[in-house]
């Protein structure tokens, strides 16, 4: 009971979480063909990053534009394992060096590089999916938060990291697959992950893990640690002089968010079947932040739903109106940031918040743009 109370502070939280679980575990699998369901699974794998961002950015005020890096690292770990399994000497007999991944052969690499060796083991891989992103986040976080790098600077440095990693992968294609990435992944311990059956199962696997990660996020938020996080965001100095090691707290959250992102990356690879640096660079990293912002940077479920909605919108609109969807996306982001800073989740939490903001904003233009006839009271009801 106490655990439940820690997880869900209010009835509303419990209901929205249950509704979300109901949606992804029951409604979507029944309503969608496997192909679409697989897409949903792909979007949900971004949800892992979003949960991390809620902790890191929404709660602790650290904006990282490098979450794609950790998503990518987790994904690459998984992809390396799957690629090794797909590159057995029989299938790759046509190569000059059979038994190594095809792209290595194309790049005159004649033996498996040492750092690939351990990825022959699934258990090592499963660990690496967490440990590699976590360790790198820890080192970077420790170095930066110790020196009180924060806010905008942190955002820009993490962005540079994203660029470095994607360039680094591009530049070492013999070892990493380069720009093409690691493609044509087939089986996991002999289980064909491309089959409909596997995709169906992987979808549920992804959902359950995501729900678990959501609960973990909710637990963190609703304990004293969650309150300390907000305190660090709003009154860093006070927290420090209440005897907390602020740098360590930030590093820890950054590390946890990175590990969540890594798990998301691994599930992405399992469901999509390849990994490429285009998922790591600057643009995807910012997009991940925007998914979370649209859904609600303070709410775990909101942020995950944000990933789902924005991506579903992207798929639908780019199918129907390929020329318009960038306008629509850009417009949505601006609107969300300006009028709904707490995202969609904020709409439910504080019904008056967003509407009032929009009204206030519009009223500023009233004399010049809208004429005297429109009054705030006339606008507000539209936004409820």
């Amino acid at each position: 009971m106490t655990l439940l109370r820690t997880l869900f502070k209010t009835k509303g939280e419990a209901i929205s979480f249950a509704a979300f679980a109901f949606l992804i575990l029951l409604v979507l699998p029944l309503a969608l063909p496997v192909f679409r369901l697989n897409l949903v699974g792909k979007y949900l794998s971004y949800g892992f990053v979003a949960v991390g961002l809620v902790l890191l950015w929404g709660r602790c005020g650290i904006l990282s534009l490098g979450q794609g890096v950790f998503f990518g690292l987790g994904g690459y770990c998984m992809a390396m394992f799957l690629k090794l399994e797909a590159s057995d000497p029989v299938t790759t007999a046509i190569q000059s060096t059979p038994g190594i991944p095809d792209f290595m052969d194309w790049n005159q690499v004649t033996a498996l590089p040492g750092f690939w060796e351990p990825f022959k083991s699934l258990w090592f891989t499963a660990g690496a999916v967490f440990v590699v992103p976590g360790m790198i986040a820890f080192l970077i976080g420790w170095a930066m938060f110790r020196r009180r790098v924060g806010g905008v600077y942190f955002a820009i440095i993490t962005q540079a990291m994203a660029l470095i990693l994607s360039l680094g992968i591009d530049g070492n294609q013999g070892y990493t697959g380069g720009r093409n990435g690691i493609t044509d992944l087939r089986t996991l311990w002999g289980w064909d992950i491309r089959s409909e059956d596997a995709q169906f199962k992987l979808y549920f696997c992804c959902c359950l893990l995501l729900l678990a990660v959501c609960l973990l996020g909710k637990y963190v938020i609703n304990t004293r640690f969650g309150r300390v996080l907000m305190a660090v965001r709003d009154q860093e100095e006070r927290v420090r002089f209440s005897g907390y090691d602020v740098a360590m707290i930030r590093t820890f959250v950054f590390t946890v968010a990175a590990m969540m992102a890594g798990l998301g990356g691994a599930l992405f690879v399992l469901q999509v079947g390849f990994m490429s640096p285009s998922l790591i660079g600057i643009v995807p990293s910012i997009e991940l932040v925007i998914f979370a912002a649209v859904g609600g940077r303070l709410s775990v479920v909101g942020a995950v739903l944000g990933c789902l909605l924005v991506n579903a919108g992207k798929s639908a609109f780019s199918e129907a109106y390929p020329d318009l969807w960038l306008y629509l996306m850009g417009g949505t982001f601006i609107a969300v940031v300006m009028f709904f800073p707490d995202g969609l989740a904020g709409l439910f939490g504080k019904p008056s918040g967003a509407g009032a903001k929009l009204t206030k904003f519009l009223s500023k233009f009233r004399p010049s743009l809208m004429g005297a006839a429109v009054t705030p009271t006339q606008i507000t009801p539209l936004n409820k």
Binding site: N38, K42, N107, G273, S318
Partner: protein, 406 residues
């Protein structure tokens, strides 16, 4: 599944109402479509998958246009097996996972008969497993690095050896070139091409490679590279720089006084499309090795250029890949008609040996390895952005896994 069929049926009704021009009805659907593709009695649906947005839109626009032109022409001439071609366009948005997603959508949800699409190697590699898994057919227009052969892909562009070897032979002979400086963007196609070029230069021509460098896609500063080139004074600069970097590279070369008058430069990555962005004055005198140039003099090409300009405006240009894109629908039509069926397996089986005498590049033939036999041509760029064709090889056999070059 049901939904899609409904949509297709609705579409079919719509076409029935409008397209009375379709002419004589073809063979019954049950015989030409045994695998549940989106083929009705008078239409066949195909997919087109390119980047209309994002960084690659620059390059892919030409292919999109050429494929559409070919489809329009085929429809005007009565379609394929008496059926009008309907196109579902999808935007890969220069993003490889999106390509994979859309490919799957086309094959699984839309059940298209074939797909014309992709441009970069990365996007092709991303969709390839999807096409093999779902048994679709992809007509891929770009010249590429080779090292690939799939039952589910028809490669209408050149693989690397077709584009590289004869070109280097020519330049070595014409310019008595012994030393080469290789420059490319940093991804698989330039790297593989340079690997092949280096082996050919060193092992066959007994020449020397004095430098080999790769710059990240999107790089805009080439000052240091140009200084190195000036220091090494190669007989030939051999270039495969692509995208936005391409423009910076040539503008900065020109500004540093490296012009066609003083320096031999042979590139495998500049077509008429790229010249638009680079500016003809920055390229004057440099050479490209391609299988097609817009200025090619033959009746097929005259008709093609005229039709293209009529549809897309007099100022539009046609590059190598655009032409290769144009071949896709025609090759598919030929294969379908030869097989007498839209079934993917039958098309794949019928494809080897298919000839196209009406190709703008001249005569082409499909090899059993699903690549085209093609000629290699060397063009020298003029100030007006067109190339003067100086050399034309015999038909070259496609060899995606070249022995001795790996």
């Amino acid at each position: 599944m049901k939904k899609t069929n409904l949509i297709t049926r609705l579409l079919a009704v719509a076409t029935l109402a409008t397209a009375a021009t379709a002419g004589a009805a073809g063979p019954p659907t049950a015989t030409v479509n045994t695998t549940g593709l989106a083929v009705t009695d008078d239409t066949v649906t195909v997919g087109q998958l390119h980047s209309a947005t994002g960084t690659m839109a620059i390059s892919e626009t030409g292919s999109i246009q050429a494929e559409q032109l070919a489809i329009d022409q085929i429809n005007a001439a009565g379609g394929v097996l008496g059926r009008q071609i309907k196109v579902i366009k999808e935007d890969g948005a220069s993003d490889w996972p999106t390509f994979a997603e859309k490919a799957k959508k086309l094959l699984v949800s839309d059940k298209v008969g074939t797909v014309f699409g992709c441009w970069t190697s990365a996007s092709r590699k991303a969709v390839l497993p999807v096409f093999e898994k779902e048994n679709g057919m992809l007509y891929y227009p770009t010249f590429y690095e080779g090292l690939e052969q799939s039952k589910n892909v028809i490669y209408t562009g050149q693989e690397a050896t077709q584009q590289i070897l004869a070109g280097i032979d020519w330049i070595a002979k014409e310019k008595k070139a012994k030393t080469f400086y290789l420059v490319g963007s940093d991804y698989i196609w330039p790297r593989t091409s340079m690997k092949i070029a280096r082996k050919h230069i060193e092992n066959v021509l007994k020449g020397k490679v004095v430098g080999e460098e790769f710059y990240a896609l999107g790089s805009t500063s080439f000052g240091s590279l140009i200084n190195k080139i000036k220091l090494k004074k190669p007989d030939v600069i051999y270039a495969a720089v692509v995208g936005g970097s391409n423009v910076s590279f040539y503008k900065q070369l020109a500004a540093a006084g490296i012009s066609g008058a003083k320096q031999t430069l042979l590139t495998i990555s500049v077509t008429e499309d790229e010249v638009l962005g680079i500016g003809g004055e920055n390229l004057t005198g440099f050479y490209s090795s391609m299988k097609y140039f817009q200025s090619l003099k033959n009746p097929n090409n005259g008709d093609f250029v005229a039709a293209f300009k009529a549809k897309y405006g007099a100022s539009s240009v046609i590059g190598d890949v655009t032409q290769a894109g144009y071949l896709g629908p025609w090759l598919w039509k030929a294969a379908v008609e030869k097989a007498g069926s839209f079934d993917i397996d039958k098309i794949a089986a019928a494809s080897p040996g298919i000839e196209l005498k009406t190709a703008p590049e001249g005569y082409v033939k499909l090899h059993p390895n699903h690549h085209l036999w093609s000629k290699l041509r060397i063009g020298q760029w003029q100030k007006d952005g067109q190339a003067k064709v100086l050399y034309e090889s015999e038909l070259i056999e496609p060899n995606p896994f070249p022995k001795g070059y790996q």
